[in-house]
Each structure stands twice: as structure tokens, then as C-alpha cells.
Symmetry: C2
Subunit: 393 residues, 2 copies
Amino acid sequence: MTAKSFHPPVRTLMGPGPSDVSPRVLEAMARPTIGHLDPAFVGMMDDVKGMLQYAFQTKNELTMPVSAPGSAGMETCFVNLVEPGDKVIVCQNGVFGGRMKENVERCGATPIMVMDDWGKPVDPNKVEDALKTHHDAKLVAFVHAETSTGAQSDAQTLVKLAHDHDCLTIVDAVTSLGGTPLKVDEWEIDAIYSGTQKCLSCVPGISPVSFGPRAVERIKNRQSKVQSWFMDMNLVMGYWGGGAKRAYHHTAPINTLYAFHESLVMLQEEGLENAWARHAHNHQALKAGVEAMGLQFVVDEAYRLPQLNSVTIPEGVDEAAVRAELLNRYSLEIGAGLGALAGKIWRIGLMGSTSNQKNVLNCLGALDAVLSDMRAPIKSGVAVAAAKAVFAE
Amino acid sequence: MTAKSFHPPVRTLMGPGPSDVSPRVLEAMARPTIGHLDPAFVGMMDDVKGMLQYAFQTKNELTMPVSAPGSAGMETCFVNLVEPGDKVIVCQNGVFGGRMKENVERCGATPIMVMDDWGKPVDPNKVEDALKTHHDAKLVAFVHAETSTGAQSDAQTLVKLAHDHDCLTIVDAVTSLGGTPLKVDEWEIDAIYSGTQKCLSCVPGISPVSFGPRAVERIKNRQSKVQSWFMDMNLVMGYWGGGAKRAYHHTAPINTLYAFHESLVMLQEEGLENAWARHAHNHQALKAGVEAMGLQFVVDEAYRLPQLNSVTIPEGVDEAAVRAELLNRYSLEIGAGLGALAGKIWRIGLMGSTSNQKNVLNCLGALDAVLSDMRAPIKSGVAVAAAKAVFAE
């Protein structure tokens, strides 16, 4: 075969991630590669750690990006904190709780499942019941912001319940970090992982994690070795741990870390609270437009994530054809449903750089046009005006 | 804290990797991010797969980059092919054989170690003895090109021995791929992993792997689940497997894959045999200069890797001070020794884009100047001329 250089189309990314990456971040990533033990690189790693502590609102020393995507961030938390034979309470209200269950099982431990409907938050009462029944459980794991549905769970309450029953907590914050309030220290979260390609609008490929003092203690006192060499925090700490002396563990993804550094500089410039407010505001405008069209949200407003909007598909509409049309005609990507919601919803992301007025208006205009052309049962020609009214407030 | 945008210094990377990344690759990486399920992206993945098959000289369908660095590529091979209770013959003649042992143990299997001195190749006679003693062994694992020493082992012979005793093989080709002859199909290698930041001169962060038919068969017939969800090839195949229909597994490192695509296009343009010849030729020139100075190579010429030159440190010289001086005065990175060779050698990489005439001459000139200034016991002022003579041949 003979392949030529690849020139991707320019998209507007309004799916469940990746979100649009700022030219600043792309430019930073293209700077010259240096060695992973270069003193200049080591200084940059310290900056990344400090800014990531700010993003997570934590003072945890062990705060760093794992050198692989979000699912490896998840696995890093589980393989380090779970030992064979442990009981782990896993809350499932979407795809990613199911992936947590897989992780627990593959660690040779027993998952105790607490199930909630897709689109609902995790029910603290059910979690409390499980904790009372399984007083030998060691951990509670749940998803703060379910990317497959757009539902947000009450992390602070769930962590408190877990601690009341002597359990540590693992929290999935892939879609919440940088988009909605998340306070690792105030909420006393023990271990947390996230992604870079959602509300931080960095390229995908690395996964920010943070481990609190109780989690570090448990890792240090494990009876068995961590089953993954690559993800063993005892070893990773030697490279990312404080100080100028870094022990080689693996070759860090240098240029992706340049990109991540720049996205964190941008977050710092905007301010975390301002970023949260921007995500909330743009959601209000999108919501006004979507509802004016007569479409429904899957998730109740009380626990809906502003950055991930799950919208039900109007009757008789070929949802894949709509997405294809948006992509081909408008170079606009929105997401399909996953798992139990496959074929039933679209997921419209307003994450990170994607979350701005222009995208809200363009997306509503495009959706309105495509659905009207397909004679879908919606109210045409009103969505954009409804959103504009919110922006004009 | 308030960090500013990071602007790395421009280095010449002549350590054990990362090697210098071409501006073409950096530019490709900075192209706009698109979704990991975008039809345009899926087409690019097919190109990457085809070009990677060429680089590995294989028709293996299951040929793709793992979304994490080389050590995760290693772990991917082990967790998929090893089951608890298995016996695995692990050949160690440097750092990375030791890491293989760690992987085997963490899979709940028993490593049978075949030890050779650092700087020597793996001894096939010892491997044969181990195979005869442990006729219940399931796998033989060895490093083709030891990055910690610069020694090359005879992969074809070792694979044949393994097959004669009904064992599959896992081969570490992190430093050989693209730099020295490597023929996966002709040598009948069953599973192989490599890195992108060595002789392919791409950024670090992903790890090319390839699994042959016997390995795929073994993965499909496992008794136990693969202990890593992230690295489970049964799941990864659903995303990277042929055809337009891709099942979401994890978010691919989109922009790093753009970079990798471009580095493979460059390899294809040069031609694999030409790339091997270039690495060999530049080594001859470096060697002439190094030997003219009176310095010694750790590895005998018969099995020395041209892309990784381990040179012994002249008596009385502070090796770290020399590296610091090269970095500060010439912005030139060379590598330190690892493990048993820490403090005893420098590792001078001539990998990928780094392997060119200019770098050979500059490196020799800089090393000559720094060592002369430190009054090291070397022959001054002759190294560059010796290398020039080779280039003039």
C-alpha cells in the first residue's frame, strides 16, 4: 500500500468527547520533543501537577496524568486499590459503572452491584442499604458524571456514606472535571480519575488521576503486588513524585503533556468557577432551543449535566441518518446513544472549548434544518431564536 | 500557582529515545482533532495498520498501536498470552528482560529465567537447555534489541527453538523496529511490541504491536479473562479490527495517531531497507570517531545495534557532568547507563531522524571538546576527521 499524509476535515465536535481542541493547545503540542528526563521537562511536570491540583481542588501530592486514556485511568484506580477477594460496591447507572464492574472482577474481587436506571443519578439510599448488608466491603465506586446518559450523582453524599461504613471511594470524573463543580478535598474523595478530551478540551490520550492520603496508605500496605506493572502507582510515583530526582519508569507522552499543560494554563486563566458558569449558561441556551423544537431531555434538570445533553429522538426519525447529515452538511459531530440508550438518544456535548455561544446557535440551526428536511415531528424555525433569547438575558 | 505556557528548548536527542521528531510529524500532530468514530478517522486507522504491517514485515491482521507507551505494549503481550500457573521462559540480558519477569509474575505465572551478561546477546544454547528442562513451558520471551545495552539477539534462531518445543514467543522490538532488520512473518514471531519514539522518530505515547495466528488462537482460547480490561485484545480488536464498523472501546489518542501516521508515511517514502542501511552507515562513522578518541564499545561488533551505541566512560571522568555540559553547552542529549551499567556507560542513540551525518559529526565534536576540557584521558581532535573519512568513502 502507499498512503499519503493525512489531512483531517475540520469538524465542530459536539459529541461526548473529544471536544474541540483550541489552536493554542494544538500549537503547544507541536513544539519540539525533548527527553522525558530533561530538566526542562521535569519543571513542566511540576507545573502540570500544580495546575491539575487546582482543577481537582485538591492538595493531594499524588496528582498526575496517567500515560494512557481515561479507561486506563479507571483501571489504575482499581488495580491499585482492590486486592483479590475484596468486596467492592459498584454503582451502575450507565455504561461506565458496568466497566467498573469488569475492572473489579478482573482484579479477582467481588462486585456488589447497586443498580439505577440509565439517566437517573445513583440513589444514596440503595448505596446505604448495600453498605449495611455488606459490612465487609472495602470500597465504593461510582460515576460522578455518566458520559453515557448525562446524569450527575451526588458525589459528596456518596463519599460520606462510604466513609461512615469504613469504605474508601473511587470516583469517575471523566466528564465532570472542568465542567461542573468537583471538589476532591472538600468532598473527601479518596481516588479519582478523569479524561483530558472532555471539559478540559485537550487532545485524548492521557488520564488525570488523584489519590488522597487514605488511598495512598492502602496502596502502600497492599498484601499483593499490583497486577499491572504499567499502572502500579508505587512505581509511577518514582517518576512523577516530587523533587528533581526522577526515576525512569516509562517514557512519558512528552508532546501530549505539552498540550495538557497548555489546556491547564487556559483553565487557570479563565478560572475554574468561570468555566463551570460558562458550561451552565450555554446549557441553558441549548436547552431553550431543544425544548422549543419540542424535543425532550432524558435526564431531569435537577441532576442534568450541562456539558452532556441527552436528547430523545423524535418518533420515526432515523437517528444515524441525522448524525450523518450533520456531519456531511455541517461538519458537525454529535454523539449516538450507548448501551441501553443506543438508537434512542443523541448526546450533544457542550464541553470545554466547544461550549460557546456560536456552537449552541449553529448546532440548533443545523439540527432544526436537518430534522425539518426529514419531516420529523418537531416545531421548526424557533430553536435558534429561543437560544438567542437566553444569551440576550 | 500560576504557570505560563511552556516553551521547550530545542534539543538534539541522541539518547536511547525519544529521538528527534521531524517537523513533518509535529505538524501532522497539530492538525484539528476529530472524533475517534469519524469515518475520516477510521480510514486513517486502516492506513496506519497497513503501513505498520509493512514496518513489521507481516501480514498479521492484528497489527496496531496500543494507546499507551512501550511498557504498556509489553504488558499487552503478556496479559493476553499468559494465564495463571503458566511457565514462561524469560531471557534477561539487560533492563527489559527484568521487566518481562515482573510482567510474568504479575500474571500469576512462573518465570524461568535464562540469564546472560549485560551487553551480550541471549545465548540460544541456554534457551535450549531451559526448554529441555521445562518441557511444560508455554512461552519464550526475549528482547530483540536491548535498549539498556545496545546488544542484538538472534530473534530468528530463538523463535525457531521455541517453536521446536511447542512454545509461542513474545519479542521486544522497541529499539529495533525501523532501525535494523526485523521480519515478523519470515521469522515466525508470534507476538511483538515496539515503541514509536525510537527508530520511527514519532512522539512517544503509543506502542505498535502485532499478533500472529498462533497468538490469536491462544488469546481466543484462554481459560481465564485477560486481567486488564484496557489491554484485553479481545475488546481492542472490536475497535481496531477490519471493516467500517468499529465498536467503541476507549477514546483513541487521535492526534498522536496523526503523528504516527506521518512517521509511517516517511518510512514508506524512504523504504525500510534504506532506513536500515542509513542506521548502519551512520553507526560506522560514529564508531570510527569514538574509537579514534580511544573510547570502547560495550557490545561486540558482531551483535551491536547500530542505533544504540553504549560507550564506556574514560577513567576518572564524572559522567553526569559530561552529559550536563553537553546539554547546557550544545543542547545535546545523550543517555546514561541503566541498572547494572549505571555510571559505567553513555548511550548514544542514532535512531530515526536523529541518525544523520550532521548529528554524528556534531556529537563527536561536542564530546571531544567537553572531554578535552575536562582533561579526560582521550585522544583529542581526531574524532570528527575519522568520522568524516567514513562519510567520504
